[in-house]
């Protein structure tokens, strides 16, 4: 009997699995009022006037005291889609909605999510004419503290929203220091954070502004036939791709092989660097791209694409910085081998002396070194900028925004950086 118990115990332990977490995005299409054909899109003046820091008189126990509200857009096949995002101060929560106007009211329909857990649900918000919509819908809205009240309800998961929430306009969004880059890691967010699209995909690049990003860091590797692609890890693995039978270093495969057999976690193809930069330039308003160098071979092919897309962005009238990230000495030496390295925009993670040597535009130390305000001042005095990476703990993000003098923060939680930056006084 004892043996059987031991065997059963062992078998049970052997067969036991790790708990799998998942976030099931709620279906937000059930609000009939929002779907009515007479509901109209909001105009740019209204959208801009709605942006600001809002108090949360009702719902603060779930989302905190304040929310920073900002609009973003993406262009798909010539159509522009606008999203309003609210970045909360508690549990790295945010909401993402679409907005319309109907009979003098403003309606917002979407979902909320907490990044510290798998909590999510439907969010429906309304600004009645008497709560500020009549002012917002004028040609020149004059917004003051308390002049906009957003009322709404949210729910958990797919349930109908029942829990009330109220947001009251407090002040405009902070914009100092400017420009400040909210740079999102892995093209906008990690797959492991259970986002609806995969890291280092074009879909993530198109999504990340909804999370508050103004820039992206993307990880570059080369395929066997020399195509620069976006991929973070050393090897193909189930953290980032679906099971397909391909294993080992991604550099073992040609782009055609990867394109045919491999799909990222949410079904996207591994994008080429060209596809990614194309999306940034022509489909988003992102103003910063950090090309993180995950390879030690020649930087020339990436430099050529960098030049091409800086020119394309300029032709579009876009203020877009594309910098080559240099995380280590190997990449630094490859960069030095470029004939025109002093005029090639770069971000250097090494010492300030190295930054000076290659005339990098940006110095980017690791967050564990602290705020380093004295060194940042030196870099600023040289006409360069300083970014810090990769800051994910909310308390650290708050400290870097409030006490540091950096010009940008790289994070896996851009919504948390956005909250801290926009509410900073």
């Amino acid at each position: 009997m004892k043996k059987i118990i031991i065997i059963l115990l062992l078998s049970g332990l052997f067969l036991s699995c790790k708990k799998t977490y998942q976030v099931i995005m709620p279906d937000t299409s059930s609000w009939d009022l929002f779907k009515t054909p007479v509901a109209l899109p909001l105009i740019q003046i209204t959208r801009s006037a709605m942006e600001g820091v809002y108090d949360i008189p009702e719902g603060k126990d779930i989302f905190g005291e304040l929310v920073a509200i900002k609009w973003s857009y993406v262009i798909n096949n010539g159509d522009t889609t606008f999203h309003i995002s609210g970045f909360f101060g508690k549990d790295i929560a945010y909401f993402i909605c679409e907005g319309k106007q109907l009979n003098g009211s403003i309606l917002m329909n979407g979902y909320w999510r907490k990044m510290v857990s798998t909590e999510t649900g439907i969010m429906r918000l309304t600004i009645d004419p008497t709560d500020g919509a009549s002012v917002l819908l004028t040609a020149a809205p004059l917004i003051t503290s308390g002049s906009i009240t957003i009322n709404g309800k949210f729910g958990n998961g797919q349930e109908e929203p029942q829990i009330p929430i109220t947001l009251k306009y407090k002040r405009p969004l902070n914009k100092s220091p400017a420009p400040f880059q909210i740079a999102a890691h892995r093209s906008g967010g990690r797959t492991s954070d259970l986002l609806p699209v995969s890291e280092n995909s074009v879909a993530m690049i198109l999504k990340t502004q909804e999370f508050g990003s103004t820039g992206v860091e993307i990880d570059i590797r080369f395929t066997r036939d020399g195509v620069p692609i976006l991929f973070h890890d050393n090897t193909l693995n189930l953290r980032v791709i679906q099971k397909c039978g391909l294993v080992g270093p991604i550099e073992n495969y040609t782009y055609e092989q990867l394109s045919t057999f491999v799909r990222l976690t949410h079904g996207e193809k591994i994008p080429t660097l060209r596809e990614a930069l194309n999306a940034v330039v022509y489909q988003t308003s992102l103003s910063f791209v950090w090309l993180d160098t995950k390879y030690t071979s020649s930087i020339k092919p990436v430099q050529a694409l960098q030049k091409e897309f800086i020119q394309k962005a300029a032709a579009q009238g876009r203020g877009l910085d594309i910098v080559i990230g240099l995380p280590g000495k190997d990449q630094f030496n490859q960069f030095l081998a470029l004939p025109d390295y002093t005029t090639t925009p770069a971000l250097c993670e090494l010492s300030i002396e190295d930054v000076e040597k290659i005339n990098a535009k940006i110095w980017a130390p690791r967050f564990t070194e602290g705020t380093q305000n004295d060194k940042v001042a030196v870099v600023h005095a040289q006409g360069r900028r300083a970014f810090v990476w990769t800051v994910d703990v909310p308390e650290f993000i708050t400290r870097f925004v409030n006490e540091g003098h950096f010009d940008g923060i790289l994070s896996n939680f851009p919504s948390c950086v956005a909250f801290n930056y926009y509410v900073h006084e």
Partner: protein, 202 residues
């Protein structure tokens, strides 16, 4: 590695320690136990159990999940109930053909286990085996060129074996084995016939 695996190893270790203490008592009674090395060599059929999601080429029906498998294992029988050994072998996890824009190709994923194995008899002639270690996985891809790419995945196996003695040193065994590569989430169930040879006794 999952908590379950760590706990199972811990339980195994506790059993081993208990048994060694128990044997200490036996040794004081001056009973000399014979130590043997036993070789298991065999083969059979295996079926890949884990789900495969090959979205790009959508060839779920063309995936070959059943294939031949082989095992080689050397066990040290110290004369106690718990035996220790090493195991390797060869399995084809799965393979499939593709045709994309007129170009044909084939992909197959193979595995070579490299495991430390414990075993113990549970009833007469029936042994349970538990292996823990790594699987060396190899992709063979023939499409737009040929690629042979390798990676390691932590893994384990558990097997139940019935051995029928043919002579004092030889036996034939039937074994059911479940192989699990944790990291790559590959599972295989195999049924094998094995020759069991007690090749060294001291």
């Amino acid at each position: 590695m999952s908590k379950g695996v760590i706990l199972s190893v811990a339980v195994m270790a506790v059993i081993a320690i208990n048994k060694s203490f128990a044997q200490t008592t036996v040794k004081t009674d001056k009973v000399k136990t014979k130590k043997t090395l036993v070789l298991y060599v065999g083969g059979g059929l295996a079926n890949y159990l884990a789900p495969i999601k090959i979205q790009p080429v959508n060839l779920q029906n063309n995936i070959t999940r059943t294939s031949a498998t082989g095992t080689i294992r050397i066990m040290w029988h110290p004369g106690y109930r718990l035996n220790l050994g090493i195991e390797s072998g060869y399995s084809n996890f799965y393979s499939y053909y593709v045709k994309n824009n007129g170009v044909s190709g084939k992909l197959s994923l193979h595995a070579v286990p490299l495991l430390l194995v414990w075993s113990m008899p549970i009833i007469k002639r029936v042994n349970i085996f538990y292996g823990l270690g790594s699987y060396l996985l190899t992709t063979y891809l023939k499409y737009d060129g040929v690629v042979k790419s390798k990676t390691f995945s932590l893994g384990s196996n558990i097997a139940l074996s019935y051995t029928h003695p043919l002579s004092k040193k030889l036996g034939i065994a039937a074994e059911a084995k479940w192989m699990n590569a944790f990291v790559t989430k590959d599972n295989l169930l195999s049924l094998e016939v094995q020759m069991v040879w007690k090749f060294l006794e001291f």
